[in-house]
Symmetry: C2
Subunit: 398 residues, 2 copies
């Protein structure tokens, strides 16, 4: 019940125990095509280039940035949590001239704040995390697509923490690049990064490929614009997933099976139903921790459905509570990073764990552990508040 | 029965269907430590920094090169097949000044040839593929460690195609960096890259990290030496796998389960026994294809145990034979790349597929398909020659 990775859906684990097939076996290439089609539904996009990057969600982020951004390009990164700092660092390593705006953790930017920064910086790329798990809040993306289109800026977001648990629509938001991971609301293991790229992003990426092929006038020019990574070179990865099937890496077969099954489960449930499930169980967990008498961190107006940050009560050692929850009750909850380290616990309700029994056992166990640590808790207050919320809002839910 | 990926060992698939645990769950960090210890045995090394890179074998290669080589550093790459070209390209993208020596595909370099190039180029890094699956031969590495030590050169090799199927000893060979993959003789899926780094390599990598932390005098100096990738930054990956457990990526749990099980199986069998198994079944396959009357490509003195390249007979369409083998007999064999594309088939006997029944069914099926394609084949010649070899050399084998 941490902020991810989480328990995988048993169907995903079964899919991952299937025997391998060869890299160009028609069965395998058909799975690749199916996976592209499934993730178009998950991302809500018509983008042809919707595929998997073979690595953790961080590999997806680096693939997007290193393929879109040439050394010297300006990148704007609004930072409101740990993962904004990661986007900044990856863009810096790609040689970009990075400009940041920062917001206190637990809050998000207004559209006007981002608009002002766009006008000042005039970046090639606006790179912003959607849901930053470190703070549990999500940056509203509405309006940014129009802003970026007006200024001729590419718009990239990482939705690892939010996808499938919160409303999100790649095409309606006007996004050019989106990356994700399996280990949150998608209910799979870390190690595969679904991603999608708009035709405009593909054009930018492919233009850097053509230079690689020897069209550039000088060695300096090649050096200046060539994609700096081979493994994460999206132009080559597009040609591997596309009709050409040009050999690049050897696709991680088992991770593909897992990523495909995550999307199949989600599409079967229905994306809207899955998001509503995350909303319901997230709300129950929120009501529950408040019912125990605990305080919540972060702007509630922009809190993600699938994770809540709970302030650690005065006098309680956060890690000791986490240790007992894990050792004695078999339930993992998380801490956070940077300014929030040791200040909050993060409790997730995501993917396969966005379930009533998971919420209630977590609240029941947390009450017991907190009591033993001398924290003032309302007996039955957590489970009771969650029950009440389910009675009000989720009569028909699991 | 292609050149990899191959059928995974069923034990590996079962291990990969286990439920996930949290990233810092003591069970998970214990698995990480166990995996390090197991791969020290597989690589035959005492290197502390023996771990997994979360990506395919190509991610391992790029992690090694981008972390060892700063822009402007000289790198020497002896090329004798496709994957030498890959090392060159990755080093170029890392900003290195790359020098190559080339050999006809199917042959390897003499130690003297490499020594001469080392003296001329004076590189920081000698990067050489061990077994190049594209040609089926392996570059002998004996003597290169001493040469590199004399010249103060770092020695890196990729053993994706050869590890666990051919004799290999990281420490005895004096190697500074070694990378691999699971999808060949280790009997697992692509998607995790075991790797090991000598104390000397670790020192070079860590020195680039200390500059990142703000010790450098100027922005130019940072730019010049900072590791260009975050995802593949070994200095950070060492700190994640080490005692500090500094958060970097979220370890790909299921791939770790798989990589760990591959090594457990290998250590249980015994590394020498596994190599002998690959030698025996590789020899049987070689005798078999020759017994069918087919010609073999590549210098037999340096052929890897686990794969053989067979010249496609005159008048036979290579891809049609491969198609029938796959569609009608359920057996995959490979083609090759570049100058060998359409000229040879590559047949593997690796990992779980290095078995007598796999060898005999492949030879029996290939005879039938070749006959239907009008190729002159010796009836029973393939299976007969393999049986003879087993009788001579492998009475006690599976």
């Amino acid at each position: 019940m941490g902020p991810g990775p989480i328990n995988a859906d048993p169907r995903v684990l079964r899919a991952m125990s299937a025997q391998l097939v060869g890299q160009y076996d028609p069965a395998m290439t058909a799975y690749m095509n199916e996976t592209m089609a499934l993730y178009r539904q998950v991302f809500k996009t018509a983008n042809e280039q919707t595929l998997l990057i073979d690595g953790t969600s961080r590999a997806g982020i680096e693939a997007a940035i290193v393929s879109l951004v040439a050394p010297g390009d300006r990148v704007l990164v609004p930072i409101f949590g740990r993962f904004g700092h990661l986007l900044r660092e990856i863009a810096e390593r790609a040689g970009a001239e990075v400009h940041v705006i920062e917001r206190e953790w637990g809050t998000v930017f207004t559209e006007a704040e981002i608009a002002t920064a766009l006008e000042t910086v005039k970046p090639k790329l606006l790179a912003v995390v959607h849901g930053d798990t470190s703070t549990t809040v999500a940056q509203p993306l509405e309006g940014l697509g129009e802003l970026c289109a007006t200024h001729g800026v590419l718009l990239y977001t990482d939705v690892t923490a939010s996808l499938a648990g919160n409303p999100f629509d790649t095409d309606a938001l006007g996004l050019d690049a989106v990356t994700a991971g399996l280990q949150k609301c998608l209910g799979g293991p870390s190690g595969s990064a679904p991603a999608t790229f708009s035709p405009r992003a593909v054009e930018v990426i492919k233009s850097r490929k053509s230079i690689e092929a020897g069209i550039a006038g000088s060695a300096d020019e090649i050096h200046a614009t060539r994609i700096r990574s081979n493994y994460l070179d999206l132009a080559m990865i597009f040609d591997y997933w596309g009709e050409k099937r040009l050999n690049h890496h050897t696709e991680a077969t088992t991770m593909l099976y897992g990523a495909r099954e995550c999307a199949r489960i989600l599409v079967e449930e229905g994306l809207d139903a899955a998001i509503e499930r995350h909303r319901l169980h997230g709300a129950a967990m929120l009501a529950g921790v408040q019912g125990l008498g605990l305080e919540v961190f972060g702007d509630p107006a922009v809190k993600m459905n699938n994770v809540v940050a709970v302030r650690i009560p005065e006098g309680v050692t956060g890690d000791a509570v986490r240790g007992e929850m894990l050792e004695d009750f078999g339930i993992e909850i998380g801490t956070s990073f940077g300014p929030l380290h040791g200040k909050v616990w993060r409790i997730g309700t995501m993917g396969y764990n966005a379930r009533k029994d998971a919420v209630l056992t977590t609240l029941a166990s947390l009450e017991q552990v907190l009591r033993r640590h001398g924290a003032p808790v309302t007996a039955g207050g957590g489970v009771g508040a969650a029950y009440d919320l389910y009675a009000d809002q989720g009569a028909g839910a699991l």
